[in-house]
Amino acid sequence: MTSTTSELKVSAFLAYKSIAKGNKGTTLLTILIMALAFVNLMFMSSLFTGMIDASENQVIETLYSNIVIEPKDDETYIMNPDSILKKVDSVPGVLGTSAQYVTASTITYEEKSGAWAVRSANPDDEIMVSSVHEMMIAGDYLSKYDRGEIIIGKEVAGGHGGSLEHLSLGGVVVGDTVEVAFKNGVKREYRVKGIFDTNFIQSNQLAYITEKEMESVLGTSDMASQILVKTKGKGGEDKYVEQFIMLGVHEDVKTWSVYAGIIAMITQSFDAINTLISVIGFFVAGITTFIVIYVSTVSKRRQMGILRAIGIKESIIVRSYVFQAIFYALCGCVSGLIVMFAILVPYYTTHPLIFPMGDVTLVIEQKNTITRGLGLISAAMIAGFIPSWRAVRETILDAIWGD
């Protein structure tokens, strides 16, 4: 056996005995505090990840789906979108496509008016790429042959407790008539068929009419402002984009993330807050370990002196305390994970937190868990090392017989 191995064995032996035969109450309390520190670290990062995840899902589910095909820079519309839809639909993993017109408009109801985007939708296609049809809070979603009818988001309608209530139409209800002035100068009156609430402020500022209605307004046919593409899962969109281009789609193809500038801003802010909270959490865990190990080294000062006197190397003694600190941190991580997975995640899945970007649940990422676990263990190791290292700096005689 190498000397390092045997030294590690002695350190581990001393650490094990100290924990197993030491004060159980102290051990449990230390683990509890470490578990709380870990839960604190995990909860905040999971909450922020959940908020980002919810925001991303909202962008995908209610605004842009996974992939957006737009006209080339110098063109207003995609010509002959059906040929593109055919190519895109042939790619395995594509779950749905929807060609839309998008135009700016001013919507007026009684004395109130505001500027909002109006999208057209072929309802049969739209429900394959968007979840808006599942989020009607009043009235109904559009039908394929609807003419003269419009559905609007709650931030447009007003009266539903939106964040932009002061900019809304002030309380339009289903059945009311609104006037829409399109960008091309056409003005039409529409009966409000439904009001939707996606829990996402951006998509709640949209209005939808049917494709045929929009074509009659714009005087176009067989064109589209954009094509939304729904793919299987989130995160692998780039490979679909490559395939579309290989199949001869020459339009501008972008993934949802290009449109998610607000999420990038949120992520940046959350990262800063998360880092700050994590640092505080690591300090709490570190200081807890430091106090526990410090008290232990003070109470075992004489014992440490005797161990050194009989020839046990200082490094063996210091390592035994570091091992104890690692044990506390590991137990704290495991206990914390049990609390997260057995209590908090299930609770917030059934009782999500309501945020402007949607319903937020806790999302635990493996990378985050590993980073925070390793961070906690590192903090504990440092906190275990410092007091024990200081303790063995003392002379043997002072340790055994000093005041």
Binding site: I310, G311, T395, I400
Partner: protein, 233 residues
């Protein structure tokens, strides 16, 4: 009695001094002590309180560093050793018995005994075997699985002796090993030391203030005010 040099000398000191600094004062605890201890000798250091006997033992046991002078142990000049070499030296060549029952409360008697053997790199089986042998030598084999709080003071001190013997040390240092024990236990410990010395040739250097202990040892080194004043035996 003349000091005898040569191959049978295991400890030799020359002009060994230890001065403690207390604030602005220098307090000499040992003054130019020169002595030899022979292999297989059972020697006692005696003297009044404050005479420097424990200080001398600490220098010889490498628990402290002298201010001046030389110590040669088993042919090795100690002043040339680094701190880690001194630690290794203590582990391999020395056994210690302290006045207090200096054993670890979390460990059983057997675990306390074999800890220095573990540090030497012996396997768990070898440690357990050697530990049991050492416990048998001190008559505590049947108490191997007991923890210190389940043992009397005399038994704990015998566990400490077994621990001191586990690595077959060249020298066993004992610092007033019977000071905290009742008469019966003290007698038992001294008889144990005597038997170890007689049966195995174990070199033992013991600090004691009990005059009757002088009858048990081969030689007494008397200290007064940090100086050797007499060598009897």
């Amino acid at each position: 009695m003349m000091e005898r040099d040569g191959q049978d000398t295991i400890i030799a000191t020359r002009n060994l001094s230890r001065t403690y600094i207390m604030g602005t004062m220098q307090v000499p605890a040992l003054k130019r002590v020169t002595l030899n201890i022979r292999r297989a000798e059972f020697a006692a250091i005696m003297g009044k309180s404050g005479s420097g006997k424990s200080t001398l033992l600490h220098q010889l046991g490498l628990l402290d560093t002298p201010t001046e002078g030389e110590i040669t142990i088993d042919g090795v000049e100690i002043s040339g050793l680094s701190e880690s070499e001194r630690t290794r030296f203590r582990l391999e060549k020395f056994g210690y018995v302290f006045q207090e029952y200096a054993i670890l409360p979390e460990l059983t008697a057997l675990e306390n005994v074999y800890l220095p053997a573990m540090a030497l790199g012996l396997s768990r089986d070898e440690c357990a075997r050697s530990g049991m042998d050492a416990l048998e030598k001190v008559g505590l084999a049947e108490r191997a699985d007991h923890r210190p709080r389940e043992m009397s003071g005399g038994e704990q001190q015998r566990v400490a002796i077994a621990r001191a013997l586990i690595n077959e040390p060249k020298i066993l240092f004992a610092d007033e090993p019977t000071a905290n024990l009742d008469n019966a236990s003290s007698k038992q410990i001294l008889e144990l030391f005597r038997a170890l010395n007689r049966d195995t040739g174990q070199t033992i250097l013991m600090v004691t203030h009990e005059l009757e202990d002088a009858d048990t040892v081969d030689r007494v080194i008397w200290l007064a005010d940090g100086e050797v004043v007499a060598r009897e035996g």
